[in-house]
């Protein structure tokens, strides 16, 4: 009896602990591939994870998948690296996966929170983990303005990867129906407003679409009017200046006169792609998606540079991403470097530009028959984007620890100013003082 009981009790205990260990076991798995040496081995490839938000947008996904596949099939196969793309909507999965102790090697990272990730997410500087001579050679062919954007305190924490400026997309058919010439696009905000009113009046469709929650273009609107976001030592917000308020007030006229397409950024883009909006300011990263939906809908896409305020030179901000890396061994660093070299090299940018729509940060490719010349000739929109590159201002990098909070306050204030009766100046001033308080606590 005793023995049976002891045995049963032991079995029950065993079952309990087994169940526990099974559950707790899930979190710890760390896959690094079978290679344990320090050199890459094609026979025993090293696995690298690449967290990419482009993989979550229907218009960018095929291009990004192709880019990863192409690497795996060529350089990856030859050198022994396998890159696994992980779709990361809203750029939040990489954070929670790092928190959970998962392997996160390369992150397609936004610009405005790079400082934050450097402090908190274990992002490594390129100079510290990759061979110096190769690094210099690789950077030299790239657009220097873009490379500098990812440098903090003289070190590269993010290498410019996908890069675009916002441009004014135009639905040619709606333009013509409204009696406008898509080949002579509006250049200033006043002209855009007039055209939008004409489109609404003649066609009944919304004239212009730029969502208040666009994530990045807003800063360019403020910069274009000579405004700024933060003071030079990043201790105070400055967007509620006279120029800032003026710029947002102009934008608000689209809403008050009822010619603006309403909704979130993706809703406005969907509306434009469905042929229901005359003009739309959006990143060129959506170019391939917009082109194909225009073709399906039977209308033609035209494009123009971001509108200006009167005679002032427009100052669009760059959107897009850089590549941030977190190698956990020398071997991993070597594997990651192979991927970085490929995707920001000649082949990489050819795929990125022609299949997704981002800028080739190796601008010489646009004139090279072997790479992008024929594509650029066919799509003059890409030229508009490349031309704007010289006016581009970097998107605001908020001080570490405050980025998400400050940016949310800013965006919420912009949304409230534009879409409600709230006074623009009052709303922005209030948001500015809230942000100042947070910055002062740092």
């Amino acid at each position: 009896m005793k023995k049976i009981f002891a045995k049963r009790a032991a079995a029950a205990l065993l079952a309990g602990t087994l169940a526990l260990s099974v559950f707790t076991g899930c979190g710890d798995s760390k896959e690094t591939g079978g290679n344990t040496g320090s050199e890459l081995d094609p026979e025993n490839p090293t696995k690298v994870t690449f967290y990419s938000y482009s993989l979550t947008y229907p218009s960018m996904k095929p291009g990004m998948e192709h880019l990863i596949q192409e690497f795996n099939d060529t350089v990856g196969k030859e050198k022994g690296v396998i890159v696994e793309g992980v779709p990361d909507a809203n750029m939040s999965k990489y954070k929670s996966d790092i928190q959970a102790g998962q392997q996160v090697d390369i992150v397609q990272h936004g610009w405005n929170s790079l400082d934050d990730s450097k402090e908190n997410m274990g992002i490594k500087a390129y100079e510290d983990v990759f061979p110096k001579d190769e690094l210099e050679e690789h950077f030299s062919g790239m657009e220097q303005n873009a490379v500098k954007l990812g440098q903090i305190d003289g070190k590269t924490y993010g290498l410019a990867f996908t890069f675009s400026t916002p441009i004014l997309y135009i639905n040619g058919t709606l333009f013509e129906q409204a009696g406008l010439d898509p080949n002579d696009p509006p250049k200033t905000w006043d002209e855009v407003l007039a055209a939008a009113k004409q489109i609404k009046e003649k066609t009944g469709k919304d004239g212009f679409g730029l969502s208040p929650q666009n994530g990045w273009v807003t800063e360019g609107v403020i910069f274009s009017n000579g405004g700024s976001m933060l003071n030079s030592d990043r201790t105070k917000a400055t967007f509620a200046s006279k120029e800032g308020v003026e710029a947002i007030s102009k934008w608000k006229e689209f809403f008050t006169s009822g010619v603006a397409a309403l909704g979130t950024d993706s809703e406005v883009s969907q509306a434009f792609m469905a042929g229901n909006v005359g003009m739309h300011i959006q990143s060129t990263s959506l170019l391939s998606g917009i082109l194909s939906s225009a073709e399906a809908g039977g209308w033609k896409v035209y494009g123009a540079a971001m509108p200006s305020f009167g005679e002032k030179t427009p100052a669009p901000v760059n959107s897009g991403s850089c590549l941030a890396v977190r190698p956990d061994s020398d071997l991993k660093a070597k594997a990651i470097w192979e991927f970085i070299k490929y995707v920001t090299g000649d082949e990489g940018y050819t795929i990125i530009t022609s299949e997704i729509g981002y800028l080739p940060l190796r601008t010489y490719l646009a004139d090279d028959e072997k790479y992008l010349k024929s594509f650029v000739d066919e799509n003059p929109l890409v030229r508009v984007n490349i031309d704007q590159l010289k006016n581009v201002k970097p998107v605001t990098i908020w001080p570490a620890g405050t980025a998400t909070e400050c940016f949310t306050i800013f965006t919420d204030a912009i949304t409230r100013s534009l879409t409600t009766d709230a006074d623009v100046e009052e709303t922005l001033k209030e948001a500015q003082s809230q942000i100042d308080k947070i910055l002062a606590q740092q």
Binding site: M1, K2, K3, I4, F5, K7, A9, A12, L13, A15, G16, T17, A19, L20, F23, N90, S92, K95, S96, I98, Q99, G101, D116, N120, M121, G122, D206, S211, P212, Q213, G258, A261, L262, G263, T264, E267, Q270, A271, A274, N276, V277, T404, E405, T408, I409, T411, D412, A413, T415, R416, T419, T420, Q434
Partner: protein
């Protein structure tokens, strides 16, 4: 083994054996208790502890003790009080969908017999088993400001002139999230109530009919009182889980916007923890609401004891 145990002399029953026998039920409980302790109470204590720290949860970083700073930060966050109000809005707003409508649907379909009853119930239950994200995307299409079916219908009927951006509008954003959550909830509650009604003794209805009671009278004097335990249970579930059930729709459809007007406390906690990378703040909010909702649960259990009527 068995034979060995069977052949043991009867005199072997000792003190030791008795104490072991006493221990036996506890040993059987041990796995369950250990699992609950590990999965429920350990995280709970950890959460309370984390509320005093500033930490990003990234492996290799150490939490920094900040005392009650997280709570002051929480109360001064611009979205905190709107989120509390919205939590209340979602909680109260969900009651008609989790109690009133299902109760009537269950009572009304009770007299339907055979296959028709199954079809009816299946129709109501299907929304419940659909994946929340898929549901969100479908509603996003339906409610699209310019391309959506709902706006087209409203414009064609002459009710509105310009499409409504449902998820960028302070009034509609919350309302739509509530309606979608409610639509999904109806099925579950209906099923619970139907099951409860099936358990009610048919003789009551027969004698009520003989006395000439109308259907409505039967519902209020027989069905409702006899269902009171189930109703109380569903009220409690609805109140305690309303915030969680709205989470997926907030995340996919409005991300708490416009300007934080549709967020609730659960979504806020998620944002603090996994977007702002401030687990301490998230834990502070969690601790606060653990206390508030704990109190609510206690009160409801008391009420349930007082008002629920059991037919023995």
């Amino acid at each position: 083994m068995k034979t060995a145990a069977m052949t043991a002399p009867p005199g072997a029953v000792s003190h030791k054996k008795i104490s072991l026998a006493k221990l036996k039920p506890y040993l059987f409980m041990l796995p369950a208790v250990a699992l609950i302790g590990f999965w429920v109470y350990k995280p709970l204590c950890q959460t309370l502890g984390l509320a005093g720290y500033k930490w990003s949860m990234v492996p290799g970083t150490t939490p920094e003790f900040v005392g009650l700073q997280n709570f002051t930060k929480l109360f001064s966050n611009k979205d905190f009080w709107p989120a509390v109000k919205n939590t209340l809005f979602y909680t109260l707003g969900l009651l008609p969908f989790s109690i009133v409508l299902p109760l009537f649907i269950a009572a009304a379909t009770q007299t339907v017999r055979g296959r028709a009853q199954k079809v009816y119930r299946a129709l109501f239950f299907v929304p419940m088993i659909m994946a929340p994200v898929a549901v969100s995307v479908i509603f996003q299409w339906l409610l699209h400001p310019t391309n959506g079916l709902v706006n087209k219908l409203l414009i064609d009927l002459g009710i509105i002139e310009q499409g409504i951006a449902f998820f960028s509008n302070e009034t509609f954003s919350r309302l739509m999230i509530l309606l979608i959550t409610g639509w999904k909830m109806i099925g579950f509650s209906t099923l619970m109530f139907s099951a409860a009604i099936s358990g009610v003794n048919r003789e009551y209805y027969e004698s009520a009919k003989l006395d000439g009671a109308s259907n409505i009278r039967q519902f209020f004097t027989i069905t409702l009182p006899l269902l009171s335990p189930t109703v109380m249970l569903m009220v409690m579930m609805s109140v305690l889980f309303a915030s969680q059930w709205t989470f997926a729709y907030i995340d996919v459809l409005s991300q708490g916007g416009p300007y934080g007007s549709s967020t609730n406390i659960y979504y806020m906690m998620y944002k603090f923890g996994f977007s702002d990378m401030n687990v301490g703040l998230s834990a502070a909010a969690a601790a606060l609401f653990f206390i508030v909702f704990g109190l609510i649960a206690l009160v409801m259990m008391r009420l349930s004891k007082k008002y629920a009527f059991y037919d023995n």
